[in-house]
């Protein structure tokens, strides 16, 4: 097991290459079989919100395209991906779909680009079969570059993925029941390390955090976060300052991908398929709105939350389409909601601060 020293992301990745011979892949959001990549000695590093100023991306993308896509492209065009050995684009939305082609067909970054299509709801027998076939196809494509898939190694990495999920579930469960003393900022800073750490480093980090964070929460007032990702982090700091704890989340980058029920399937391909089809309802998989609403209400009830904050990235169509129904459904249950429509990495404005403060006052 490697020792985790909390280095910078770049230092960590360089070490992964030098010491363990791992290949580093830049992976765009959101749903992909990372266990398969780990097996092929590829370390996925997710590209959600690199801390960059947008300049070059504007020559390629319109102003009405979301910042996650624009920041991802900026990252590539500015050459920030020099450390990477390839890219993987999961089929998350129309904008990421076309971004994959801009990069692969037009920008030609000199690194291999792969694509992963996951079937969309409504799920049928054909969806399950197709998902397995997509996994096998990706394994074969990666195998051409990095060597054939070792089945027993694959099984081991699927087990490690299960372990990551299991600790995540424990963390979320502890937080929901009011047994976690960590601040909102500490919680998300820690779990977002899962976007780039190897499981051998991630599992002990999460376990250590779980062990060290048990205790009385800092506040009784709690909310659910729903949306894409917890950035700008100043909002988390503001919630901490206002003594509002996040009881649970329905964030694409966080809870939606990690809170999968345990599965005992022996075959690693089948196991990953199970994980995909049993993930919490998500816009990127076309889950029905009714399921999303039920899921949110369960989260509210399970964490004794007093309200829901929709933390939306500007221009994010998948999330924006579901919101009117979700807000209406929550309102019927007497649950207050707040919609914040922000760019990742933006500074917290006075107006936004006031809105969050007012919401905090209302739910107390």
């Amino acid at each position: 097991m490697t020792e985790f020293h909390s280095p910078s992301r770049r230092e960590y990745l360089l070490k992964q290459r030098e010491v363990y011979g791992r290949h580093i892949f830049g992976v765009f959001p959101a749903q992909y079989p990372r266990e398969l990549l780990w097996t092929m000695n590829i370390l996925p590093v997710e590209i959600w919100d690199p801390p960059l100023d947008l300049s070059y991306a504007s020559a390629h993308l319109q102003s009405y395209i979301c910042s996650i896509v624009r920041l991802g492209l900026e990252f590539i065009v500015k050459g920030k991906g020099d450390i990477l050995d390839g890219f993987l684009f999961p089929h998350t939305c129309d904008s990421i779909q076309n971004l994959s082609s801009i990069v692969n067909n037009y920008l030609k970054p000199g690194k291999p680009c792969y694509f992963f299509y996951h079937p969309k709801w409504p799920y049928r027998e054909s969806s399950h079969r197709f998902y397995i076939e997509q996994l096998r196809d990706l394994a074969a494509q990666l195998g051409d570059q990095f060597g054939a898939l070792d089945y027993s190694r694959f099984k081991r990495y699927v087990e490690k993925g299960e372990k990551v999920t299991s600790v995540m579930r424990d963390l979320y469960s502890l937080r929901a029941s009011g047994g976690l003393s960590a601040s909102n900022g500490e919680f998300y800073r820690t779990i977002r390390q899962a976007e780039f750490l190897h499981p051998d480093d991630l599992i002990p980090l999460l376990e250590k955090f779980l062990e060290g964070s048990q205790g009385t929460p800092r506040s009784e007032t709690s909310v659910i976060l729903s949306g894409v990702l917890p950035n700008p982090s100043e909002i988390l700091a503001l919630l901490d300052e206002l003594k509002i704890r996040v009881g649970d989340d329905d964030l694409l980058a966080c809870g939606r991908r990690y809170l999968v029920p345990p599965n005992q399937t022996q075959d690693p391909f089948e196991s990953l398929a199970e994980r995909y089809f049993y993930m919490p309802p998500c816009t990127t998989r076309n889950s029905p709105i009714k399921e999303r609403l039920e899921h949110l209400i369960n989260k509210v009830e399970g964490s004794n939350a007093q309200g829901v904050i929709f933390w939306i990235v500007k221009f994010c169509e998948p999330e924006l389409f579901d919101m009117p129904h979700l807000i209406e459904g929550l309102k019927k249950k007497g649950l207050p909601t707040l919609v914040i429509d922000v760019e990742p990495n933006q500074e917290l404005t006075g107006q936004l601060t006031t809105r969050i403060e007012a919401f905090g006052e209302m739910i107390r």
Binding site: Y64, S95, Q97, F321, H325
Partner: protein
Amino acid sequence: MGKKRRLRKESASLGPPLTSNRSLKELMATHYLLSRYAQGAMPVAWVTSGAPVEILRPFDFYTFYPENHGALCGAQKMGPELCAEAEEHGYHQDLCSYARIDLGHYFSGKTPVGRLPKPDLLFAANNICQTVVYWYKALAEYWKIPLILFDTPYNFGEISEVDISYMVRQLEEMIPLLEQISKIRFRYKRFRKIVGIAREASLTWGEVLSTMKARPSPMTIFDAFIHLAPIVSLRGLPAALEHYQGLLAELKDRVAQGVGAIKNERWRLMWDNIAIWYKMRDFSNLFAERGMNFVTATYTNAWTETIGYLDETKPFESMAKAYSLVILNNNLDHRLQLMERLIQEFQVDGLVIHSARSCKPYSVGQYDLRRLITERLQIPTVVIEADITDSRAYSEEQAMVRLEAFFETLEG
């Protein structure tokens, strides 16, 4: 609700209007009129423009196309009013305006065609965008009716056998559901015949578009945008085929007689993306007055480009190919090659790109397409930032500044 028709002046630079415009108007008016009586008499399906409608026809579904209705609302300048209705109910102004118009209709009942039939089924394919699925999911929730999705894997590279068999299996899985909803048993022979009719109509539409290779072109792309309606809304029905046969005969006659759609065709242009429906008339006049005629568009071409794959002897497999290889479900290299081919075949002198706020799969990548086409083909290009139906996202001043610069470059 209806709007009082205003008399609008046609530019003196335009040639004689097509006589087929009248038959088109009758055909589409009948389609909308009949739709009012379909409800209760036969199962009604609301369908996305890229969905494999042939599979619905053997079950006698009356098919209605919200995107076509959205275009109609846009052309009648009702876009902002209907979009605002959806926005009042929480739908963000950044969302697709076809969707907002449709949801605005749901909340208000407003439409320029009197009344729309309530659907029993929603049938979507994500080969044109994921947006239609988000939109139809919302409708399914409001109407409490089933939604069937034809999930078409994006062609990042080449289409694979795995993709084809996934789509074939989905079509097979739909049949029992459609039987259940329509209470009609699947008729395979009829289905094959419908696939044949759809193929013929689409190929005839392709021939219609090909007449614009002639100099002068017998019609403009603005005519084609209007005559697109039957291949979108009535595909698989004999009426669409009959309409295009009539239109083709008229266009061939015009070509033989040297009758152009504009009087002095000096420059030939290509349009990229969906029309700006509320600017159709203005743009038609503006370009015609400068001797500029749009002779091809990636948008109108989309309903003929892949239809050659349709084969009544292998209906499921051929439908999988025909519907998943369409322009918006294909990588941008494919789009670049297609545009280069069309530019050469139609002897295009300049390219106008509509960056449509509503349509991400059409618009993301356009800036690079423009750069590459300019570099490779050395033709003037311009990007207009606008929207398909929501005129609030269009700045006349900004568009005209860009177009004037484009005109200067083109005219040298």
